[in-house]
């Protein structure tokens, strides 16, 4: 079986597509001049915006490499008079909890992503393909629940975690983040496009439902599973409100939550505050640099269904 029969997640962004588009977009075939005033303005606008968008991050990075004295020195300057130093990073890493929080984020986000993928794809497959009693009713319930805003649930969820005796545990962070009705919907849409004939062939050979799902449908669904996985992971990695409510033990905090406590702890130590923030931002930025294509594809596939 070739992968060419696999339905593609529709309308995903194709990162390589614009490459070489410059010349074509310039309408050279109509004889328009390449360096028109409009084009120069457009290029300038793009450069200005990109610089503006990079600036806050660059400024934070530069600050994090200053000594506390020169970070707090006026007038503001990009180049500190006493040179750059990694002192802020050394003390944050030595005294702070950043490595621990990164680990907590990694554990919880990975568990959330893995469990969500399993649970949601099983449900989505059944909703797409199995004509079971109550299917339509369940489908409507799941779709309707997309509208429920997470902040509405924080009070009763906290109450529930108190009763389950799970406050300040990994499970308390993980469990409520496993419910992504919108992702079930996205996956269901995809499974509906998988040609039924492929499954029939396998079933005639005597494969059961689970086997068909595992060895025929899932291998064809890698792009959509990757897309959903990326979306859920980033959401979980960056989630603030729920982990903030449910963890008070500093050793269980995730990165975004821990960082909030750093702000109050370091007070006026600007270089250390920025070093913490940069360290917290770093993992996803590095991942993004390596997997830009996949991540951008993932978000553009799940985008409309994901919010």
């Amino acid at each position: 079986m070739t992968t060419s029969v696999a339905p593609q997640p529709n309308a995903a962004y194709r990162p390589g597509y614009t490459r070489g588009y410059f010349a074509r977009a310039a309408n050279l075939r109509t004889g328009e001049r390449f360096w028109s005033v409009g084009r120069i303005v457009a290029i300038l606008a793009l450069v200005v915006m990109a610089v503006a968008w990079l600036l806050p991050f660059l400024w934070a990075v530069v600050t994090s490499f200053k000594s506390e004295t020169s970070a707090a020195a006026t007038p503001v300057s990009w180049l500190p008079s006493d040179g750059f130093t990694t002192d802020a990073y050394t003390s944050v890493l030595r005294e702070g909890n950043i490595p621990l929080w990164t680990w907590n984020s990694l554990v919880t986000a990975t568990a959330i992503t893995a469990i969500t993928l399993v649970v949601s794809s099983l449900a989505a497959y059944a909703l797409a393909r199995i004509d079971f009693r109550g299917r339509r009713w369940l489908f409507l319930l799941i779709v309707a629940s997309i509208i429920v805003p997470p902040p509405v649930l924080i009070v009763p969820l906290f109450y529930e975690m108190l009763n389950l005796n799970l406050v300040d545990t990994y499970w308390a962070i993980i469990l409520p983040q496993l419910v992504h009705p919108a992702m079930v919907f996205v996956l269901m849409k995809f499974f509906q496009q998988v040609p039924v004939e492929l499954e029939d062939a396998a079933r005639i050979d005597g494969a059961g439902r689970v086997r068909v799902f595992w060895s025929v449908v899932l291998p064809l669904s890698r792009p959509i599973l990757a897309a959903v996985g990326i979306f859920v992971f980033v959401l979980a990695w960056n989630n603030f409100l729920w982990p903030f409510i449910i963890t008070s033990d500093a050793s269980l905090m995730t990165l975004p939550v821990g960082l909030q406590t750093v702000k109050s702890a370091y007070g006026l130590q600007y270089a250390q505050t920025m070093a913490s923030a940069v360290l917290a931002a770093l993992p996803l930025i590095v991942v993004f640099l390596f997997f830009q294509r996949q991540i951008i594809r993932g978000f553009s596939t799940t985008g409309f269904g994901g919010q």
């Binding site: 309308a11 962004y13 597509y17 490459r19 410059f22 309408n27 109509t30 328009e32 409009g38 457009a42 793009l46 915006m49 990109a50 990079l54 806050p56 400024w59 970070a71 503001v76 449900a123 497959y125 059944a126 797409a128 393909r129 199995i130 004509d131 079971f132 009693r133 299917r135 629940s145 429920v148 997470p150 509405v152 649930l153 924080i154 009070v155 009763p156 906290f158 109450y159 529930e160 469990l175 009705p181 919907f185 509906q192 029939d200 079933r203 799902f213 980033v234 960056n238 603030f240 409100l241 975004p256 960082l259 600007y270 931002a281 930025i285 993004f288 951008i296 978000f299 409309f304 919010q307």
Partner: protein, 315 residues
Amino acid sequence: MSSAALDVGAGATRARTSASDQPRTRTQRSRNTQVGWLFVAPFVIVFAMFLLWPLIHGFYLSFTGESITGAGGAFLGFDNYVEALKDPIMWRSMLNTAWFTLLSTIPLVLVALVMALLVFQGLPGQWLWRLSFFMPFLMASTVAAQFWIWMYNPQLGLVNYLLGAVGIEGQAWLQDPTWAMIAVVVETLWWTVGFNFLLYLTALQNIPEQQYEASALDGAGRWRQIWSITIPQLGPTTVLIVILQVLASLKVFDQIYVMTQGGPGGVTRPVVQYIFETGFTGYRFGYASSIAYIFFAVLVVVSLVQFQFTRRSQS
């Protein structure tokens, strides 16, 4: 465009099952039912436990005087709702949320569109443009907020420094009641515009190139093409982005909580923060739930209005 958010009807149709599955007999149908529920069971369990049950329980709590100690859980009828509707802080936070939504949605759509149009020109270094605009979206809310607290620092921040360089006097942006909300909106724009930018970029790619070629043959210039082809073709995408953005902006909490704690003087406090404070600082679970349900009702109404509006504009 197959828009997941709106295209509910298509999914609600009968499952497209293979020929061997058409339930010809009652036993076959019940077998399908068994297997089907087995497949959905894990999701249904987490769904029921961590969405449906809290949703119902929260509704019940909103009619009680429940607090964190478990004491005072008496049934109060509509008392909480009556109190909420008379609560000036509740109203203030609702208005703040609405104001934030209005102020943020417009630039978050327009700037995203401009970014996408500029990047789609196809200049070399596509990865760099995408990185610049999309990367902030991958940062946690607290990270982005920390960066901007530093940017906005009255004496040491880059914002006042750059404004000073062009002769504009700086402000204590986050501490000034007139500027705090604007400052929060600017931070939100920086942080989340990349997502809308990406959705626009995807939509731009899906405009068939033949349309441009045809109009180029008719002698249409680049600007003409943008107005007469690109913008109209992006219509359905824009509608969806606006809908999603309004719903996202109404739920604002993180960045405001980190940057201003709702201040100064409550001028930036969003309704989610008020739910949070009532529940977890005041420990009034029942009252917090009633505010949460008022907020939920507003959200449902806004969604329905938007949905109706799109349906009408499409037909």
